[in-house]
């Protein structure tokens, strides 16, 4: 009788046998994500020299290593902001139905399939000194000598825009189509012009979605690795933190330092995400009146 009573009490709080369905998924995440992460954190505190915090001290004491944080943020933040900021007006224009919308969204998905390597190849070819972009600018007389757009900051930045913009655009478009269009019509009947409608009605409802989109785009840009090597300047201007981590772990075989850099990377990234999500929680996040 007490066992059935206990079962009742647990079932009342939502605990019963169906929860076993969660176990395989949880086991995978625990074994393949949480445990290695914890292991990595543990490893980062056991460097071969320098004591408990030695690996972190090594990282922060060396300007060449330390500056990778600023380099990465210097790439990822502007890229994410540009991707989100450019997506909003475009998605706002396109939120209604029009012919070819599906085609356009499909075309915008293409860059997601490109993969880092094709994007890198393409940027090297297209933006290179003899590439089509420079040729076009020169032939219309805007410049006299080719401008250098690859193997530096801009090459990486463009590759982040190419992969990040379509992603941000699709997310924002979906958030926008989730806002009931009659709300704007209602505002119009109350005498609001299009800017007032956008600013007072649509934007506040969209803001939480913008925050989420920014986070996801930022994560994408923050993890930049292959393109920083291929179209960037991996020893200088675009030595991002993932290159530092990879270098430490797989070229110097200093696993504690590699883990420490990975931890620093995670902390910096989560800090930015936490700030944005913290701001988001201050906003209205309820229903946007859409169907669904």
């Amino acid at each position: 009788m007490t066992r059935t009573a206990l079962r009742h009490r647990l079932a009342e709080r939502g605990v019963d046998r169906q929860l076993w369905l969660l176990v395989p998924g949880l086991a995978c995440v625990l074994a393949l994500f949480v445990y290695p992460f914890a292991y990595g954190i543990g490893l980062s505190f056991q460097p071969s020299e320098g004591g408990f915090l030695g690996a972190y001290r090594t990282f922060f004491a060396d300007a060449y290593q330390r500056d990778t944080i600023a380099t990465t943020l210097g790439l990822a933040l502007p890229a994410a902001i540009l991707n989100v900021a450019a997506s909003v007006p475009i998605a706002y224009r396109m939120r209604g139905r029009f012919r070819g919308k599906r085609l356009l969204t499909t075309v915008l998905v293409v860059p997601i399939t490109l993969g880092t390597v094709l994007t890198a190849e393409g940027l090297l070819n297209y933006l290179g000194p003899a590439g089509w972009f420079n040729r076009a600018l020169m032939s219309i007389g805007l410049i006299d000598d080719p401008i250098r757009l690859t193997n530096n900051y801009w090459g990486v930045f463009f590759s982040l825009v190419i992969t990040g913009f379509p992603f941000a655009f699709l997310l924002i478009l979906s958030y926008l189509s989730g806002i009931d269009p009659t709300l704007e019509r209602a505002a119009a009947t109350l005498g609001a012009g299009w800017w007032q409608r956008f600013q007072r009605i649509t934007l506040p409802l969209l803001a939480p979605g913008l925050a989420t989109t920014f986070c996801l785009t930022f994560v994408l840009a923050f993890s930049v690795f292959p393109s920083a090597v291929l179209v960037g300047d991996p020893a200088g201007e675009t030595r991002v933190i993932s290159i530092a981590a990879y270098h430490a772990a797989y070229e110097v075989y200093d696993y504690p330092l590699g883990s420490a850099i990975a931890v620093v990377m995670g902390v910096v990234e989560l800090a930015v995400v936490a700030i944005v999500l913290g701001l988001r929680s201050l906003l209205y996040t309820g229903s946007t009146g859409g169907k669904g």
């Binding site: 009742h8 079932a11 009342e12 709080r13």
Partner: protein, 351 residues
């Protein structure tokens, strides 16, 4: 399914996170009976139905079917049928396959599945739509599929959870008759949940009125309609005028009450002494416009076909709902009165 003689709910209760959604429901359902569970939303009527179905485990109490304990069985082994509020048809299966699903679960031989499915389709008159998917049907047709799916198994008990609430007014009346007809022709035992008192009164042999998870009153439609046990049941049974008053005097079988700017004679429900706070309940149709009685001023007049619904106000500003035969105009002064037998006096104050 084997029919039962009686199904007994014994102190059935259900808690959600420490809050009683239903408590102490005791009820005996006899074979062939049509029982309606009636109450406002959140009163526990759907909880009661789901507990009976086995879709929700009980927190307390037990359910017995002719002496065999039922509440420990999972829903699929109780042998009940159920009609859901939004029909819950399987969207990927045709009408025919929806109806035969339960027979297939019971591993009924194939030719019998076909025969019984055909019969059920004919019963709900959907012969022309048997091959369609639920999405291609109208609301009323979907409702009939849901009913056919529930009765094709010849269940010992059919549970219906507000089956008519998603239909428009005209269709609702038609389906109401249809449900009663099926109940009678198939000899089903039915438990029916609704918040619509008219539906409950017209369909059920017996009503159970629930409020805040507790039974307020159980009885035949006539008993509840004429003798509501308290003002909450009265409110539900169409006593739209519930006026807070005070007992002036008790004379034998009637009491005189005053307050809200008027004095009335009424029939007490319970024992009262002079000075008690009470609530007087009167149906709009029991207030008559005449020469003597309470003077009121007409405010709003609604045309309702044969009759007019009038909202009037007493000198003290208390609103009265009246049914009138002919049209008084807004702003008119009239006097209304009621037969003391039709004025029910309930205990007042906080309850």
């Amino acid at each position: 399914m084997t029919a039962f003689q009686e199904l007994r709910l014994d102190g059935v209760g259900r808690r959600f996170g420490g809050r009683d959604a239903l408590s102490g429901l005791s009820l005996t359902i006899r074979q062939g009976e049509f029982i309606a569970l009636l109450g406002p939303s959140g009163c526990g009527k759907s909880t009661a139905l789901n507990c009976l179905a086995g879709l929700l485990p009980l927190s307390e109490g037990s359910i017995w079917q002719d002496g065999a304990r039922l509440d420990t069985l999972p829903p699929e082994r109780r042998g009940f049928g159920m009609v859901f509020q939004n029909y819950a048809l399987f969207p990927h299966l045709s009408v025919r396959k929806n109806i035969s699903f339960g027979l297939q679960m019971q591993r009924v031989p194939r030719d019998e599945v076909k025969r019984r499915t055909d019969e059920a389709i004919r019963l709900v008159r959907l012969e022309d739509h048997a091959g369609k998917l639920p999405g291609q049907l109208s609301g009323g047709q979907q409702q009939r599929v849901a009913i056919a799916r529930a009765v094709v198994l010849e269940p010992s008990l059919v549970l219906m959870d507000e089956p008519l609430s998603n239909l428009d007014a005209k269709l609702r009346l038609e389906m109401r008759t249809e449900i009663r007809r099926l109940h009678q022709t198939l000899g089903l035992t039915t438990v029916y949940v609704t918040h619509d008192q008219e539906e409950a009164l017209s369909l059920a042999d017996r009503l159970v009125v629930l409020r805040d998870g507790r039974v307020e009153q159980t009885g035949t439609p006539q008993e509840l309609h004429e003798r509501p046990a308290n003002r909450h049941v009265a409110d539900f049974m169409g006593y739209r005028n519930l006026l807070p008053m005070r007992v002036k005097a008790v004379h034998g079988s009637t009491v005189a009450v005053d307050g809200s700017g008027m004095t009335l004679e009424g029939t007490p429900v319970g024992k009262f002494a002079a000075g008690d706070e009470v609530v007087a309940g009167i149906r709009p149709e029991d207030l008559h416009i005449g020469v003597h009685g309470v003077p009121v001023t007409v405010e709003v007049v609604e045309y309702q076909g044969r009759e007019l619904a009038v909202e009037a106000r007493t000198a003290d500003g208390v609103a009265l709902h009246i049914m009138a035969g002919e049209r008084p105009a807004s702003g008119d002064s009239i006097t209304v009165s009621a037969d003391p037998a039709r004025v029910l006096v309930f205990p007042g104050g906080v309850a």
